[in-house]
Amino acid sequence: MQTLAVIRLEWRRLVVRPLAWVLAALTLAWLAWNYTLLLGSFLAGQIQRAALADGPGFTDLVAVPLLAQLAQLAFLVVPLLTMSAIAGDRRNGTLPLLFATGMPASRIVLGRYLALLGWLLLWLVLTLAMPLLLAHATRLDWGKLAAAALGLALMLSALAAVGVACSTFASHPAIAAAAALIIGLALWSVNFGAQMAGINGGAINWLAMSTHVQPLLRGLVSSADLLWFVLLIALSLALTTRRLAADKERG
């Protein structure tokens, strides 16, 4: 119940803060504009593609590219959204109020994380609603779209966990946002150098988030990719909990 109370508190704070709405409005407007461009391009090329036996469809040319754009925006949006998760409480002195309810640090972290994740998943659902609105008028590849949506949901979950961790370790929300942005981009591109050198396997590729998101965007769901996200989320939340518990000890 206490975790639920923290979720409600954080959710309420998100809902009344202009930042969350401004981010949602701007990004969804940007995605809607791009959606119309993708749709226009898809409609313009329909005649040429009709000649192909197994050519790409609406899902490949409109829905998945739209989700890929959401993934790009997530690198900026998630740090901005998560930066105050704990650092904000630390700055305005409200963190001890949560400690004084006798709640373990893990519940505070989980509550904050789940509230932010709720907002991010809503953001994903609203983006998904754009291609889904045309589901009756076109042939969607439901399996591929579901895999891509799962990939995005996992990516948002992982970035949110990293963001909450940065917010717990940083003393100032702006530092938390910068750290989360840098870590997110580093996680995405850690293997780019290796790929440019022609190395397409190995540990460095396994470490990169792009290695695990791209197959999902192509419709390939593998347990190894899912495990990578679960490990990153678990590691980030465990470090966050540990740090918060240490904060309580230190006072």
Partner: protein, 254 residues
Amino acid sequence: MTSKIPATSKTVLQLEQINRRRAGRQAVQNLSLSLQGGQVLGLLGVNGAGKSTTLSMIAGALRPDSGSIQLNGEDFLERPELARRLIGWLPERAPLWAELTVSEHLDAHGRLRGLNGAALRQARTNIIERLELQPLARRLAGVLSQGQRQRLGVACALLHQPALLVLDEPANALDPVQVAALRSLIREQAAAGTAVILSTHLLAEVTAVCDRVAILHEGILRHDGPIDADGHAALEKTFFDIAMHGHTHPARAA
């Protein structure tokens, strides 16, 4: 002198040999004291004496390095979740979430303290009425004056009707009328059996509202006893003796 309100015999809080280092120094040393239901204990000391550290430990926001804390006879350090229902805490400067309204604050605190549904609504209505917060109920905490923030902090601490009320400088930024109302509220809580511990710099605050006074100096309890019959003057002498010269006054049983 007898207590203004007879304390119930039940010991609500028992500290035994509490120690805590903070910011590289020993903030609290071998602190032992107890508090019964219905008693109001004033905690005095100069800045840096260890008052806020002590109150943070009692409230459950900070763990002592050693020692034990019993809350209603149970080991508080083993069961920190006892704080949820039993303790109401107003920290120094009443920290608030600026983006929430007064009413939302009360709801959030109530839920964190285990109140829900009708019980939460009833508790919120009662405390808003009692602290005359109706005109502020829909106002954002971020735009409240310091005195209004303090009243909201007190409301949050009292919302779930705790057995132990921990107030860190509750009269900060309150005007004289509000101070009088706060004193009356504290006595009312004590009369209902709540144990109250309040830290303050104001000796008059202690003599006006407390049954007992404890004086901390450099993290050590130098005095613990009832307010004497000659009240303010005696307390002032004791306090300055301790604060200026570091004298220890024999602790008396409360």
